[in-house]
């Protein structure tokens, strides 16, 4: 599909969404004087389905009796920054940001998506299907594409693998870059701009179905153990009533025909109750990676560890 055309559609849809929301926000404001609930997303989730997100936001607004709008940002870091500053009320983030140490804590787990029966997913190390690479070692001195520097599957897991090998992870690949988007990591590998890449298994499988012309050009050479699926979180400052209501609506979507429609679009079974221990293996990976780092300091928000720039 043509990219510039998509961009145009994207922009016009975005415009429609925002205008629609404004109108709705105004009417609600005059009636009830309520601020919209702002729900943060990154492009890591699903990039192309803007109309879908609009309808989903409408669905949530109706259920909440309060306008809900999705706020998209390029990176997890930006989403986290918006959460900490109070500009977002809810967000769909990744396991890696979730397990980071925050002082003080400003988010609370509310739900974890259920994918193919389990709240789990994997990280895939992918290469071009025609390439000779069979293991991560084959990618030494090659070009590697990461998704987001705060992505578990798209960055932490390959970092962990390199740390495990005991190699200098900065020097292992000839060159690395961030696409900030799992779909674009697939694209970079499919077009051989990168020799290998790390992606979310859920997104990769989603693309196999909805964007096969690119996705089928890639092949998985390594699958990670199961990780907890990227969770939905609420900002601690949001009132209990709203969080409780949102959690109920989201976890009840699989019992509602309209909700099931959105779950089908997302290829998810539903949203389940939080199980914080799901992210324990991610915590372990963080610890391993931290241990392998020359400085060895704790990885927390506010420290300049992953700037998105590799030197």
């Amino acid at each position: 599909m043509n990219k510039s055309w998509l961009t145009a559609i994207w922009l016009s849809v975005l415009l429609c969404i925002s205008m629609g929301h404004n109108t709705r926000a105004e009417s609600l404001e005059t009636a009830e004087a309520v601020e919209p609930i702002r729900f943060g997303l990154t492009a890591v989730v699903v990039r192309e389905n803007l109309r879908f997100l609009d309808q989903w936001a409408h669905y949530l607004s109706k259920k909440m009796s309060q306008p809900v709008e999705f706020v998209r940002r390029r990176s997890y870091r930006e989403v986290m920054d918006l959460l900490v500053s109070g500009s977002l009320d809810f967000a769909w983030i990744c396991g890696f940001p979730y397990v980071q140490n925050r002082d003080p804590e400003f988010i609370k787990l509310i739900s974890i998506p259920v994918y193919r029966g389990n709240p789990l997913y994997h990280s895939f190390i992918i290469v071009h299907k025609d390439s000779p690479y069979q293991t991560l070692d084959d990618l030494q001195d090659k070009v590697f594409a990461y998704s987001d520097p705060d992505s578990n599957s798209g960055y932490l897991y390959p970092q962990y693998l390199l740390a495990e090998k005991g190699t200098n992870k900065e020097a292992f690949f000839r060159q690395t870059f961030f696409t900030f988007n799992h779909a674009e990591t697939v694209e970079a590998v499919a077009e051989r701009f990168a020799d290998g890449g790390a992606v979310d298994s859920y997104i990769w499988e989603y693309l196999q179905e909805f964007s096969p012309e690119l996705a089928t050009k890639t092949r998985v050479i390594k699958q990670s153990p199961a990780f907890g699926f990227p969770p939905l979180v609420a900002r601690l400052g949001v009132d209990f009533e709203t969080v409780w209501q949102m959690k109920n609506i989201i976890t009840g979507m699989d019992k509602d025909p309209d909700g099931r429609k959105f779950l089908e679009g997302l290829k998810l079974d539903g949203f389940g109750d939080p199980r914080p221990d799901l992210f324990d293996n991610i915590r372990e990976m963080v610890a391993s990676v931290r241990a392998a780092q020359p400085g060895g300091g704790p990885v927390t928000y506010g420290t300049e560890v992953n700037t998105g720039i590799t030197e």
């Binding site: 990219k3 510039s4 070009v143 720039i309």
Partner: protein, 490 residues
């Protein structure tokens, strides 16, 4: 009279060829100019496109390079290529790349074969030269203009940040589409040129036909006139208002008048013949009647006095004389008949026989005869006819001459004719008689029969000869008879 419609060297062919040549020349010149201009325009357009594309990437590149954001660099390169293929139908990007100042690939449209962070794999002498040249430029520039060698055009745009060269954007556009586009428009122009030439030659043919058709008809008409076949002249159709129409009209009018004139002449000739016949008949009747009256008187007297020997003796000579005169007249009238019978040929020395007869004709008059017969013995002549012509002319002159007159006879021979000239310095022929000179029974002499020159005329005519007369009153007269040699020899 049939002739090819387009004689190979005819005006119609020349006209048509000239017009065709002119149209072809003009059309091909204009066509060549348009093709050249088109090509230049296409080339300029392509160069502008290439520069624009390279520039568009170079503008956004510095931040991406500084942040080592290879993926954004690659995407801007790809977007540029997509925009180019969407917006410019006739443009094909052969390749596009961003290189750092060391020549390593920062992004390449064909990433599979040009790995990131490595020098170009297919790097030859030309590639090195291009890269070196691309680092020298400060603004977007077209590097390769020698299209015939490479078949592509390369635009480079340097990426500068704060005066530091971060890299170069290089975009190669194929010339193939340009060639095809130029070729397509060339075909159209060549087609139009050929159509123009065809139209030109068609018009040329039409115009030349239109001009030469009446000319051909007029030529045929004039040839008919010159060969006397006036009945062959068909009127030329007058279809035009221009000079040709006027010419055709004039010709038709002339032809019509000539036909009328000829029929008038024929009528005149017939009536002249009748007049001549009447004059001959009247002359014969008159000439014969004169002696007949005397003869009848003599015979009457002799009948009344049959026994008078004196009368017989007196009248018999008169009868004899009168009958002889009639006989002479008849003989003269039959002279042609006689000479027809006498086909004998002789050498020209037989003319010398005449000299004595002429001298006796002069008798004792005071007239000088100059005789200059130069015809050799090998020249054969029809003796009786030529003798008769010369004798009659000489007798005519001598009778006209006063005393102390001079009469000359001379001969000449050309390649195929002999010329007999009789000249005198007599009183000359008055102008009013000249038209009747050779008429029978026309005479100005009291005792003349008026048959001498008529006989000369008839004889010369029977030998396809020509008689020319020059005469001036008081100065003299010259008769020149030209006879074909071949006729004389037979």
């Amino acid at each position: 009279m049939t002739r090819p419609y387009f004689p190979p060297k005819g005006l119609s062919v020349k006209f048509a060829l000239t017009i065709t040549a002119v149209v072809a020349g003009v059309a091909f010149t204009i066509g060549a100019v348009i093709v050249t201009l088109d090509w230049q325009r296409y080339q300029t357009e392509l160069e502008s496109k290439a520069l624009l594309l390279a520039h568009s990437v170079a503008v956004t590149a510095p931040d991406d390079i500084l942040q080592n954001d290879s993926w954004s660099l690659y995407k801007s390169l790809k977007n540029m290529a997509n925009d180019a293929s969407d917006g410019m139908q006739d443009t094909k990007i052969l390749t596009g790349m961003i290189q750092d100042p060391d020549g390593n690939v920062l992004a390449h449209l064909n990433p599979g074969n040009n790995p990131l962070g490595m020098p170009l794999i297919h790097s030859g002498e030309v590639e090195t030269r291009f890269f070196t040249a691309s680092k020298e430029v400060r603004v977007p520039t077209i590097l390769n203009t020698d299209i015939s060698v490479k078949g592509f055009l390369e635009a480079v745009a340097p990426i500068y940040s704060d005066g530091k060269l971060l890299g170069v954007v290089r975009v190669r556009l194929s010339y193939k589409e340009l060639y095809q586009k130029a070729q397509r428009s060339s075909f159209v122009i060549i087609g139009m040129t050929l159509a123009l030439v065809a139209l030109g030659s068609f018009l040329g043919t039409m115009i030349s036909r239109r001009i030469t058709k009446p000319l051909t008809a007029m030529t045929e008409g004039i040839e008919a006139v010159s060969s006397g076949e006036l009945s062959d002249i068909k009127p030329i159709p007058v279809n035009f208002d221009d000079e040709l129409g006027v010419l055709a009209n004039a010709f038709n009018k002339m032809a019509k008048e000539m036909v009328e004139k000829k029929s008038l002449e024929e009528q005149i000739a017939v009536s002249e013949k009748l007049v001549a016949l009447g004059r001959i008949s009247a002359g014969v009747a008159h000439e014969v009647n004169n002696p007949l009256a005397g003869l009848m008187n003599c015979i009457d007297t002799l009948k009344k006095h049959p026994d008078d020997p004196e009368l017989v003796e007196r009248y018999l000579p008169l009868l004899d004389k009168g009958l002889n005169r009639i006989k002479n007249i008849v003989e003269s009238l039959l002279i042609e008949l006689r000479t027809e019978e006498a086909h004998g040929t002789d050498n020209s020395s037989s003319l010398e026989d005449l000299r004595d007869i002429v001298v006796s004709e002069i008798n004792d008059r005071d007239i000088i005869l100059n005789w200059d017969n130069t015809l050799g013995e090998q020249v054969l002549i029809n003796r009786r006819r030529v003798q008769q012509i010369v004798l009659n002319l000489l007798k005519n002159s001598i009778q006209a001459l006063p005393d102390k007159g001079v009469v000359s006879f001379s001969t000449r021979q050309n390649s195929d004719t002999i010329i007999l000239v009789v000249t005198d310095d007599g009183p000359g022929i008055p102008a009013q008689y000249k038209s009747q000179l050779f008429d029978p029974f026309f005479t100005t002499k009291i005792n003349g029969t008026g048959l001498g020159l008529w006989i000369v005329y008839r004889l010369a005519e029977s030998m396809q000869g020509v008689i020319e007369v020059e005469s001036e009153v008081g100065m003299g007269t010259q008769f020149k008879v030209t006879l074909p040699l071949i006729e004389l020899s037979t």
